[in-house]
C-alpha cells in the first residue's frame, strides 16, 4: 500500500488526527510514504520513536541538505539558495542564533508580561462584546493578540503595529492570492529591515535592538538577524492564533470541562498542556534527514533518507497517555510533543503558554453563554497547511442586561 503524506483528518471529526495513525502505531510505526512532490520519506508514529528522532539519532534539520523532506510551507516562501532561519539549521550555527534571543523567552521575563497580556486580551474581548453578534473570534482575538505581543517583543513601534497586524494576517491567510501573500511578506521584511537600521540610533529594550547590536559587533550577519526576526513572527503568530481558535472550539464541545476551567483558573496551565496534546496543531511540518544509517523500530533508515515525525500520532500514543482520544484537562499531559522535542523544541513555548492560558480563561469568564454561531459542519479547516487551524470561528453570546 502506498501512503501519501499529508493525510486527511476525519471529515466527521475535524479535531481528531487522521484515523490511519492508530494502525501505523500498532503495526507499522516507521513506514515509507510519498510526499506531495513525489519524493519519499519515513513516517514515524510512536511517541518514543518521535523523541528518539528529534533528540537522540543522527539526523539533520538543515533544509539545504539533499534528501530533506519538502513539507514545510515556509519552504515555499524561502528564496532558493538563501541561508534559512535557524529552525532549519544544525549546530553550531543553530545554537549560536537561538542563544542570542533566548533571553527574551526566559520564563521569568515572560511571566512579567502576563499582566500586560491580560490587558491586551481584555481590550480585544471588550471590542468584540461591543460589536455585532456573531463575531469571528479569529479576526477579533486569535490573530491580533499574538501579533501584537510579537510587536512588543521585537520592538515594532505602536504607530506601525496596525500595518504590521494587517500584513501578518494577509501573509498567513491561505485565501489571499499568492501575490498578496508575497507582497505582505515583502512588506514585513522591509519594515523589520528598516527597524533594524533605526534601532542602531534609537535603541530600545527589545529584540530588534539586541539583534542590531549583534550585527554591529559582528556576532551575526545582517541576513541572519533579519531571518531570525522573521522566524519569530512566522513561528509564533499563526501557531498561537490557531491554538486560541481551536482551543476555544474544543472547550465549547466539552461544556463540563469548560465549566471546570471557568470555576478553577488554577487548572489553566494543565488545561493548556492537554489542549496542546489533544489538538497537536503542528501536524505536518517537522522533517529531518538522516545523516547516518540507523535502525528505527526494526526498519533500516539510510543516510540521506527523509523523515517526517507525526506529532498528532505521538500525542495520542496509548503507551504514554491513558485513553488518549479523551480530552481530560486534569490528566498529566506535559510529555506531549506539540512543541517538538530536542534542540529545536519551541523557543516561544513559555510565551505561547501564557497567551493561551490568559485568552482561553478570559473568554470563558467574560463572555456569557459563549457558543458557536453556526453548525460545526459549516466551519472550514486549514487542511494540509502544516499548521492546523480553522479559517474563521463565528461565535455568539448572551446580551447582558
Amino acid at each position: 500500500m502506498t501512503l501519501h503524506f499529508p493525510l486527511a483528518r476525519p471529515a466527521d471529526d475535524p479535531l481528531a488526527p487522521p484515523e490511519i495513525f492508530r494502525r501505523l502505531r500498532d503495526r507499522e510505526p516507521v513506514t515509507m510514504a510519498t510526499l506531495w512532490d513525489g519524493s519519499r520519506a519515513w513516517l514515524v508514529a510512536r511517541h518514543a520513536d518521535v523523541r528518539a528522532v528529534l533528540r537522540d539519532l543522527p539526523v539533520s534539520a538543515d533544509i539545504t541538505r539533499p534528501g530533506f523532506p519538502r513539507i514545510f510551507p515556509l519552504q515555499q516562501a524561502l528564496p532558493q539558495g538563501e541561508r534559512p532561519p535557524f529552525v532549519l539549521m544544525d549546530p553550531p550555527d543553530h545554537d549560536v542564533l537561538r542563544k542570542l534571543i533566548n533571553a527574551d523567552f526566559v520564563v521569568r521575563r515572560i511571566e512579567a508580561l502576563r499582566p500586560r497580556i491580560r490587558r491586551l486580551v481584555d481590550e480585544h474581548v471588550d471590542a468584540m462584546l461591543a460589536g455585532p453578534r456573531p463575531a469571528d473570534l479569529v479576526r477579533a482575538v486569535a490573530l491580533p493578540v499574538p501579533s501584537t505581543v510579537i510587536c512588543w517583543l521585537l520592538g515594532v513601534p505602536v504607530a506601525e503595529q496596525g500595518a504590521f497586524n494587517e500584513w501578518t494576517s494577509t501573509a498567513i491567510d491561505a485565501t489571499s492570492t499568492p501575490e498578496r501573500r508575497a507582497h505582505a511578506y515583502g512588506a514585513i521584511g522591509g519594515l523589520l529591515d528598516r527597524l533594524l537600521a533605526e534601532k542602531e540610533h534609537r535603541p530600545g529594550d527589545d529584540m530588534l535592538t539586541r539583534l542590531a547590536r549583534h550585527v554591529t559587533s559582528g556576532a551575526v550577519s545582517r541576513h541572519d538577524a533579519l531571518t531570525t526576526a522573521m522566524l519569530i513572527l512566522i513561528a509564533g503568530h499563526e501557531t498561537t492564533a490557531n491554538m486560541i481558535a481551536l482551543g476555544t472550539l474544543t472547550l465549547l464541545g466539552h461544556p463540563e470541562q469548560a465549566d471546570a476551567l471557568r470555576d478553577d483558573p488554577g487548572l489553566a496551565p494543565n488545561a493548556v498542556e492537554e489542549l496542546l496534546r489533544y489538538l497537536s496543531i503542528v501536524d505536518g511540518v517537522i522533517g529531518r534527514v538522516a545523516l547516518e544509517d540507523f535502525t528505527l523500530a526494526g526498519r533500516q533508515v539510510r543516510a540521506g533518507d527523509g523523515i517526517v515525525v507525526l506529532i498528532p500520532s505521538a500525542n495520542r500514543d496509548p503507551g504514554v497517555f491513558d485513553d488518549p482520544d479523551t480530552l481530560d484537562l486534569r490528566r498529566p499531559a506535559r510529555r506531549h510533543v506539540a512543541f517538538g522535542y530536542g534542540l529545536h523544541q519551541c523557543l516561544g513555548q513559555p510565551l505561547a503558554r501564557v497567551e493561551l492560558q490568559v485568552t482561553l480563561t478570559t473568554l470563558l469568564r467574560r463572555v456569557p453563554g459563549l457558543r458557536l454561531a453556526v453548525p460545526m459542519s459549516e466551519l472550514t479547516f486549514k487542511q494540509n497547511d502544516g499548521v492546523y487551524g480553522v479559517r474563521s470561528l463565528p461565535l455568539t453570546w448572551n446580551e447582558e442586561n
Binding site: 528529534l54 533528540r55 537522540d56 537561538r98 542563544k99 533566548n102 533571553a103 523567552f105 526566559v106 520564563v107 521569568r108 521575563r109 496551565p269 498529566p332 506535559r334 510529555r335 512543541f339 517538538g340 522535542y341 530536542g342 534542540l343 523544541q345 519551541c346 513555548q349 513559555p350 503558554r353
Partner: protein, 64 residues
C-alpha cells in the same frame, strides 16, 4: 535525591522551571538551566521526576 544537570545539552526551554521552580532556575542571558537545589527534599520528588521526563534535551538526571 540527587540531581545532575547536563548543562551544555540544555536548550533553555524553561519546562523544568515551570514544573519545579523551587529546584530549577534559568540564566537571564540565555535561558540555560540553573540548579537552585541539587539535593531537594522529598516534597520535590514528584515534580523533579516529572521535569526529568519532560526535559526536551534529556539534560536532567535524577539519582538516589
Amino acid at each position: 535525591m540527587r540531581i545532575d544537570i547536563d548543562e551544555p545539552a540544555c536548550i533553555g526551554s524553561g519546562q523544568c522551571v515551570l514544573i519545579a521552580p523551587e529546584v530549577f532556575g534559568q540564566r537571564d542571558e540565555d535561558g540555560t538551566v540553573v540548579l537552585l537545589r541539587p539535593e531537594p527534599g522529598a516534597e520535590s520528588r514528584e515534580a523533579v521526576h516529572e521535569a526529568a521526563g519532560v526535559c526536551p534535551a534529556r539534560a536532567i538526571m535524577v539519582g538516589g
